[in-house]
């Protein structure tokens, strides 16, 4: 039997996170992240009837936030644990991309709501042809016996069992960093120097942009490319490193979309 997966107030962890950041208008220059985490944990506690999957999602995001906060509190070292910092940016960018998607469709949903409301003011003609045409109507019941009608009734009223094997957990993740890497390694050597914007030309899915960006970071980590960004929010120039030590690409972590 289905179970409700909604908490009374928030429809999932993104919903809460969006609300906290956008509606609460927490002071973003001071303690934003810790306030968000606190509220998050409070919400988690409030979920008395816990659904395991939802709770896991909530926890996962709370953990990510705590991670972000914790690193912010640590002093930066100039020699920098570059890998760690990159990983942190990756986490944040994924979260940000998902939040933006979530926000986009929340706004779409409200427009759809308005469309439905407007459409409900009209009522279609449903009467169909009148009895004068009964003789012409093709007989839909041709070949239907009383026995078959009985069977249809029994089928309709029997308790419903599970109809199919649930393959939810093995459904493919479309945007994979490995695939993006493969694509980039195929393209970059011939391009030499190219802007990130060019590399994502024609990509419409935000998550794919993020994944492609992560792949670039991965290449940077492995010394395959050099990155240069002239100004904040400016375009990033990617330069293929032509003479690496000849080693194959190291295995990479996979990120969940």
């Amino acid at each position: 039997m289905p179970y409700a997966v909604t908490t009374p107030v928030f429809e999932g962890p993104f919903d809460l996170l969006l609300h906290l950041i956008l509606q609460e208008e927490v002071d973003i220059h001071e303690v934003s992240l810790s306030r968000i985490i606190e509220a998050y944990l409070a919400e988690l506690e409030r979920m008395t009837e816990m659904d395991l999957e939802v709770a896991t999602e909530f926890l996962l995001i709370a953990a990510t936030l705590i991670d972000l906060k914790a690193r912010r509190l640590l002093p930066t070292r100039d020699d920098g644990e570059l890998d760690e910092e990159l990983a942190l940016w990756e986490e944040r960018d994924l979260l940000l991309a998902r939040l933006l998607d979530c926000k986009t469709f929340k706004d779409v949903a409200s427009v759809m709501h308005d469309l439905i409301e407007r459409a409900e003011l009209t009522h279609p003609r449903l009467a169909g042809p009148d009895e004068r045409f009964a003789a012409v109507m093709p007989d839909l019941l041709e070949g239907v016996s009383p026995r078959r009608l009985q069977r249809a009734f029994l089928r309709a009223t029997e308790p419903k069992g599970p109809v199919s094997i649930d393959l939810f957990h093995v459904a493919p993740i479309r945007a994979s960093v490995a695939e993006a890497l493969e694509f980039l390694v195929g393209q970059l050597p011939s391009l030499g120097r190219v802007s990130f914007r060019q590399l994502i030309a024609g990509v419409t899915d935000r998550i794919e942009v993020v994944v492609r960006f992560l792949a670039i970071l991965e290449l940077f980590k492995q010394g395959r490319v050099d990155l240069d960004q002239a100004e904040r929010f400016g375009d990033i120039t990617v330069t293929w490193n032509n003479n690496p030590d000849g080693a194959d690409l190291a295995p990479i972590d996979n990120y969940d979309g």
């Binding site: 009522h123 279609p124 003609r125 449903l126 009467a127 169909g128 042809p129 009148d130 009895e131 004068r132 045409f133 009964a134 012409v136 109507m137 093709p138 007989d139 839909l140 019941l141 041709e142 070949g143 239907v144 016996s145 009383p146 026995r147 078959r148 009608l149 009985q150 069977r151 249809a152 009734f153 029994l154 089928r155 309709a156 009223t157 029997e158 308790p159 419903k160 069992g161 599970p162 109809v163 199919s164 094997i165 649930d166």
Partner: protein, 206 residues
């Protein structure tokens, strides 16, 4: 109190009359129209007749006629060949299994509301009801006396005729029904924890 003359009637009331006639599936009697429009029945009667005349004069493909104690919009007789062609061309000729299940529920449980059917099938039967009603197999038989005054559906004489039975009593009984092997299996499958590849192919169509 001054008597309302049809000539004083706001155009909106005439438009509302047309709107109601458009959505009505069965002929609507003047009393009901009068109630919804908040006008005296005599005025509504005049308005209906006037509307009928104006449709005739404008040469519309539909007409407003008084049948079975009420007014209804229907197609003009001269155009029946087009309507027949449309009815024959535009529709599939076999009942879908969803439609048959809905029809079976109505046959055995009538009078029954859309909500009740939905509760049994787990699916909103709206579009199926449209089809079945358009085919004349079911009709609105009454209104529930609950708060929503929901429309209750039942089967028609045409349905019995097409099924080749004399009356509803001649349908195979379902009350003394003992679940057969298939149902027992389905119930067991519902309780099974480990996914079983056989369930995917166990769907037996008649």
């Amino acid at each position: 109190m001054a008597k309302t003359e049809p000539s004083d009637i706001a155009p909106e009331v005439v438009a509302a009359l047309e709107a109601i006639l458009l959505v009505a599936v069965e002929p609507v009697n003047v009393k009901l129209l009068a109630q919804v429009l908040e006008q005296p029945t005599s005025v509504v009667e005049v308005l209906c007749n006037r509307l009928a005349t104006s449709y005739d004069e404008a040469g519309h493909g539909f007409q407003l006629v008084k049948v079975a104690g009420g007014f209804r919009l229907q197609t003009r007789p001269e155009l029946s060949s087009y309507v027949e062609r449309f009815v024959l061309d535009g529709q599939q000729s076999r009942v879908s299994s969803a439609a048959l299940e809905t029809l079976a529920i109505i046959a055995y449980k009538q009078p029954i509301s859309r909500q009740q059917i939905s509760a049994i099938r787990g699916v909103d039967p709206e579009s199926v009801l449209r089809t079945l009603q358009a085919r004349g197999y079911i009709s609105e038989v009454s209104r529930d006396d609950g708060p929503g005054l929901a429309v209750l559906y039942g089967t028609t004489p045409l349905f019995l005729e097409r099924l080749g039975v004399n009356s509803l009593e001649d349908l195979p009984p379902i009350s003394d029904f003992v679940p057969d092997a298939g149902v027992v299996e389905a119930l067991e499958a519902g309780l099974r924890v480990v996914p079983d590849s056989t369930t995917a192919t166990a769907d037996t169509n008649d």
